[in-house]
Symmetry: D3
Subunit: 120 residues, 6 copies
């Protein structure tokens, strides 16, 4: 699944670049949508991200492409790899701006850890 | 291109359903990202949408799938068809929740209408 | 009823002009307030807009005047004409920046279409 | 000039009522639009509000009517009286939910106090 | 208690300075957090602010320091003094940018005025 | 430095709990304010966070206390430890809801890595 976001004036810090924390918020939202679609009828909460590294500043007007792939399904948790590319001006560039692995745990209505029901 | 949005508490009207105008805002943003990616290095502004019809109320927690396809490229303008599906609980449903055609005109830095440069 | 909005940095796209979709969101909100006031105690949802045309780019700092008039009351639905004028610098200009007709349907608590009760 | 606002989920505190500070933000925005329209081509900044008293809690779904009247024009400053009424369910109620006087000073491009130019 | 806020592009008016009303919204939120922490298990609503005076324009990128001190505890209400300082570039400056007294009343679940229970 | 945030309806996901990504956004903003205050006149961008683990769901109305401490100052980068506590109902609880180390690099106007000037 690919997902796109455009960096708008309302997303910027006082030096005109995107907050690192805002990028993490987008990564979480996009992966949350993905896990909700992959396991319909079940509920998930984020439990962790790998070590986070920001190597490239991101500017206003930049369009970001988020590539989100399921890489591991455990008994009660699931992990996605999210890569962020620059998607404009130079068409989809090969350069990865940001990458992380984000994990979710399946929970029941009481918020207790619950077994993931795989679809056939 | 497919795009997903989750309907959150901050998007709702006072009866707990999504504002029609908020859905149109999302359609415009998603198609704007699409046209910016399809014609890199050129700038576009929205010039119109077809007659708009909302047939299905949309509730909190719903994940929406936006399918955005380029349907017409003219000398200075381009049109996308956007279909919105319900994407959760019942996996990708066939039922179209919303559909519209949205058009953009290519403009230069002075804001004047400009010829679309097609990529080879 | 007249309504005013000022275009602020948080409303802009990456080229410094207002998103067309944001203008539609405002039209929907303002007409929704109008229909809620005109028929107190009843609940409405947006069902449609006419063909949408954006002819004038709108910039930061612009104050917009929305003129919203009830033009049709049917058995279960009602239509408003919304005109948007530029309201600053040149005092209320005659030039219409944007115009549309927006319709709402009256619904009961179950979300079913319901008869509009006219006030005496 | 009358202005309307609807109280939406995104405006509420953790007990489901409108923050007093959010109401003041709306009063400031509406009076700022008013002064900008009354004196086109000049720039104003808020310099003060009278003693503020909140007497009535305001709930989700409430539509508020802001009545904004110019009450004093000085050499460099101008004052508006803003009254807020409940506008729904009981049609425009006579009861004032909130009232304040808000003043603006006219400033030049350097931010220095400047003489208000009255229109003929 | 001290609290900090950074002024970002999304907070600005069309002349690049902070809205007075936005500053009041922040004062209310910060004092609301303070009263909720000082009297755990009880619920408060804002009832008033002193006469408000804005003497200094506040610009993008400015970090504001809010100093919030409890100055009066009555039977059913409590007052905080909030001072706002400029906190950057010149390290914590002595100059007060803004000052006000804000009062809250303790309410029960029905929204009725209620006696403040002091902690030992 | 301590910092407080209240979890409001606009911050919640569709199950009524705080998004993990939103918590990371707050951690980044608060540490960004801290580094900007600690090294006035210099500019910083976030370069990384440690492995992220969310162990406790966070609900609407919760007040969070962020404790932010400088733990390492290098030649061009600086690290803060951020702990998040629950701050309400049970007064400041000892239990850590969330903890992370976040690092910033000092950059010049061209965005190049730059030496941190320590204050005497």
């Amino acid at each position: 699944m690919q997902h796109y976001k455009i960096v708008l004036p309302a997303d910027l810090n006082d030096y005109g670049s995107l907050f690192g924390g805002t990028l993490l918020k987008w990564v979480d939202e996009i992966a949350y949508i993905r896990v909700s679609l992959d396991f319909p009828g079940q509920h998930f909460v984020t439990i962790g991200l790998d070590n986070v590294e920001f190597r490239h500043p991101i500017r206003e007007g930049q369009i970001l492409c988020f590539q989100c792939d399921k890489t591991r399904v455990g008994k009660t948790s699931v992990t996605y790899n999210v890569k962020v590319y620059r998607a404009r001006y130079e068409t989809e560039s090969e350069e990865i701006l940001f990458e992380n692995n984000i994990s979710f745990v399946c929970v029941d209505n009481a918020g207790e850890k619950s077994i993931i029901k795989q679809q056939e």
